[in-house]
Chain length 95, copies 2
DNA sequence: GCACAGTGTCACGCGCCACGTTACACGTGT
DNA sequence: ACACGTGTAACGTGGCGCGTGACACTGTGC
């Protein structure tokens, strides 16, 4: 039921891509064609992974952009689920 | 290779949820707990589906929020792919 | 001890978008 | 003619992705 807090995609990026390759944040940012601050924000959970950034990551690390966006969606969805009770929605189709 | 233009999630929402049930945009917006304008913008491709809106849709139409977010991600990703050539990214892992 | 690279972070700005309200114009059906 | 549903334009608000410049901290090599 995946009820546990999903990790921020930035953490996965650091542990699965940067650390194994031994690449610094500065060098990775330069390779991605973005600023060091932007990449740092993503790695520390201060920013999400935009569709364009997912594309950059897929090119640089030879992965699929869908995998990054899927992680981001799961993370944001879990955030929204935490406030499920606050939204008053009427069911239009029987559960 | 899904190289074709993916439909905007708003179109799918209208054709698969509103029209079959014969519900007006006004009534649907009220049931979703949002404004008529906001729902109209989504249906006409003027706005995307936010994580919170995906949650609302899943409750009202008894679906999964993941399906809506996945459609939205695919749509945004395709948009980004159209400008793939404009981003200068260096490969850090051999293709 | 000191200089340097790497990193995180703060402040500021820019642009885009989701969302709300109010108001107007159009088409359809009564 | 009138009401209704709808699309949309104009306004404001809040948030976020992204950039820059600047600062403080940490570890390494001299």
């Amino acid at each position: 039921m995946r009820m546990h807090n999903p990790p921020h995609p930035g953490e996965v990026l650091r542990e699965l891509c940067l650390e194994p390759l031994g690449i610094s944040v500065t060098d990775a940012a330069q390779a991605l064609g973005t600023s060091r601050k932007t990449l740092s924000a993503i790695l520390n959970g201060k920013a999400g992974i935009s569709p364009e950034m997912a594309l950059r990551l897929s090119i640089a690390f030879n992965t699929t952009p869908e995998s990054w966006l899927a992680q981001q969606s799961q993370y944001e969805l879990w955030q929204a689920e935490q406030h499920r009770g606050e939204l008053h929605v009427k069911r239009l189709v029987a559960a």
